[in-house]
């Protein structure tokens, strides 16, 4: 970490730090060391500045009174609102990530946002829209380890005017057995501290590749929409998804297309019109990586 970054981060508990994350400026403040640890470990490739403004104003504050010492807590305050119950202070760093997810999913209506893992290769974007629990993030991490550029493990952000997809590379969240699966595939990957989330699942955040972070301002055209589903023990199958069904899937997984009115709907209709759409069932990562390499090469 550079001395400049270090000196900027020393302002975290007072004026705060402005981090550029993809197309967003995020003003982060926190008096908790967990948040600083996360920023040092995961964000030193990101442009940072001193100061206090941006798309989102995100503060992770310590509990009051007894809660500073007895089972200490962390509360997330986003633009003056507290959308979540306080969490154990141990989860302060992770809660910053969850807070940012909440911001992007709920407060970025200048883009159409779809819940999806998104990677790029050769100037074409692969969008994997799916509900939680479909193995989206694991597949995303494996693709990134295999050389795809990370856009996001959570959001496809589409510019409704140009139809281009915007990268928002951030730490990838892995859960339970996926943690070891990815660790085995790439021993170089940097992980954050392991912890249990509010649902009791073991999770860890994975550092985004430096190259993806440095190229965060390079948008690209969508190439494929593939709806993934992890099915333990099942053989890998890939079948064409009719466009109408693909449209149903992406609107279903969109956080906000309705907020953009007809423009939002048209944007998603254009997305499926312009891409090759498939449904994917898989259990073996090596098989699925080989298959995706083949399909996206043609």
């Amino acid at each position: 970490m550079s001395p400049a970054t270090r000196s900027i981060l020393s302002l975290l508990g007072t004026r705060g730090v402005q981090v550029a994350i993809g197309p967003f400026l995020v003003h982060v403040r926190s008096e908790l060391t967990g948040v600083r640890d996360y920023l040092e470990r995961f964000y030193d490739d990101f442009p940072m500045a001193e100061g206090g403004e941006g798309h989102f104003d995100l503060a992770v504050v310590a509990g009051r009174g007894m809660r500073r010492w007895v089972r200490p807590q962390a509360s997330i305050v986003i633009n003056g609102a507290r959308p979540f119950l306080p969490l154990p202070a141990l989860l302060a760093g992770a809660s910053m990530e969850w807070g940012m997810n909440w911001c992007v999913g709920r407060s970025a209506h200048h883009w159409v946002a779809v819940h999806a893992a998104v990677v790029e290769r050769g100037g074409r974007v692969l969008i994997l829209p799916a509900p939680p629990g479909s193995g989206k993030s694991t597949l995303c991490a494996a693709l990134v380890c295999a050389g795809w550029r990370l856009f996001s493990d959570e959001f496809a952000l589409i510019d409704p005017d140009s139809g281009r997809v915007l990268p928002i590379p951030r730490p990838i969240s892995l859960k339970e057995a996926s943690i070891e699966v990815i660790r085995r595939r790439d021993p170089q990957v940097v992980f954050g501290p392991e912890a249990h989330d509010t649902e009791g699942s073991r999770f860890v955040h994975m550092r985004p590749p430096s190259d993806s972070v440095r190229r965060a301002d390079e948008s690209a055209r969508p190439g494929w929409v593939i709806v993934p589903r992890f099915m333990a023990g099942k053989p890998t199958t890939l079948e064409r998804l009719p466009k109408a069904q693909a449209l149903m899937q992406v609107t279903d997984q969109s956080f906000n297309y309705n907020y953009l009115g007809p423009k939002g709907y048209t944007c998603l209709a254009e997305l499926v019109r312009e891409t090759d759409c498939y449904r994917l069932e898989y259990s073996d990562l090596d098989e699925v990586l080989a298959l995706l390499a083949r399909v996206t090469a043609s």
Binding site: G13, L25, E53, H55, A62, V77, S107, H109, Y259
Partner: protein
């Protein structure tokens, strides 16, 4: 280490509410803080309407531009979704054979009144004749709305003492409807005639009706000063201001307002509405109406106390004691003392 300041800037919001011209002098950072405060006070629609009047500077940075675009999309979606719910409600009530009238937020949106712009409406309030309450309830059930689970105390609280049924929630869309048979609780000392409210209501489209202007203002006032909690009530004051400015140009309105305040026994809330809208947001009120309603105020000590409490609370400077005093007061007005004591005890036991 000093604690981080994460509070909303309500003073800034009150400043621009009083003087919307100031919006154009705000720095990007202040404008962003004003969006935050407006959103949490449910006044995003107000802020955007005034910003739309050409008051956002053209050299606004990209991040703020994006925030404003997002805020506009949100306000539009609030309004669109409430219009859709009103449409569904209209369908549920098709051919029921009694008059039903939208109240408060949903009415402002339906009638395209200033307080309805970009409004976030949490509950749709509907007034129906008491004798048709069961029929209305049945119609809503048949169209997907159902009662949330209540414990026996809450169920009794609603059925016996309140002027509305417990909230009904739509099983798929989660929209909430409050069915009212009166605008103030049965246990309150004031009983504005629901028959008169329904009788003089005006149609918007198809069977969708709203209260007549005078009744709408009186209801907003009764709600603000008698029914709800005054704490965090900036929005309710802005509603009153918006309605009075909108209707006040019509000379008929003021004579109606004074006559209907008497007819509905709502002279005290009418007095407060005139007094505080003028004091807080400099709402123009005709001078003869000010003098006519001044006779409807409380005795001086009570008036001094109310002045101090209201100004403090509305400006977000209210001490917890001031908010508590107003909360007890609003309940005092709607329940006899014995019931009130029981209710407050019950609530305090539950909160702890």
């Amino acid at each position: 280490m000093p604690r981080l300041d994460v509070a909303l800037d309500l003073r800034l919001l009150v400043r621009v509410l009083r003087n919307p011209q100031q919006l154009q002098d705000l720095s990007p950072r202040e404008f962003s803080r004003a969006i935050d405060a407006a959103e949490q006070s449910r006044l995003l629609g107000w802020l955007l309407a005034h910003a739309d009047a050409g008051q956002v500077s053209p050299e606004c940075p990209q991040w703020l531009n994006d925030r404003v675009t997002t805020a506009r999309a949100r306000a539009r979606e609030y309004e669109r979704s409430i219009r859709w719910e009103i449409d569904r409600l209209n369908r549920a009530f098709l051919g029921v054979g009694f008059r039903w009238v939208l109240l408060k937020g949903a009415a402002y949106v339906a009638a395209a009144l200033p307080p309805g712009r970009g409004r976030r409406v949490a509950d749709i309030d509907v007034l129906v004749p008491q004798e048709h309450l069961v029929k209305a309830e049945t119609a809503l059930r048949e169209h997907g709305w159902e009662f949330a689970e209540l414990d026996a105390y809450d169920a009794r609280y609603y059925r016996e003492w309140m002027h509305e049924l417990p909230p009904m929630v739509h099983s798929e869309r989660r929209s909430v409807i409050d069915l009212h048979h009166a605008i103030l609780p049965q246990s309150s000392r004031l009983h504005p005639s629901s028959a008169r409210l329904l009788e003089r209501s005006i149609p918007i489209s198809d069977d969708v009706r709203v209260l007549c202007p005078a009744h709408m203002v009186l209801h907003a006032a009764a709600h603000l000063f008698h029914d709800g909690e005054i704490a965090g009530a900036i929005r309710d004051v802005v509603d009153l201001d918006g309605l009075l400015r909108c209707f006040g140009n019509d000379p008929e309105f003021w004579s109606d307002f004074v006559r209907e305040a008497r007819a509905l026994q709502l002279t005290r809330p009418a007095y407060y509405a005139v007094r505080y809208a003028d004091r807080l947001l400099a709402t123009p009120v005709r001078s003869d109406v000010v003098s006519e309603t001044s006779a409807w105020g409380p005795v001086s000590p009570v008036r001094w106390l109310m002045d101090a409490l209201v100004e403090k609370t509305v400006h977000g400077r209210g001490t917890p004691a001031a908010a508590l005093a107003l909360y007890i007061r609003s309940h005092w007005l709607r329940m006899p003392p014995f019931l009130l004591l029981r209710h407050l005890l019950r609530k305090s036991v539950r909160r702890s």
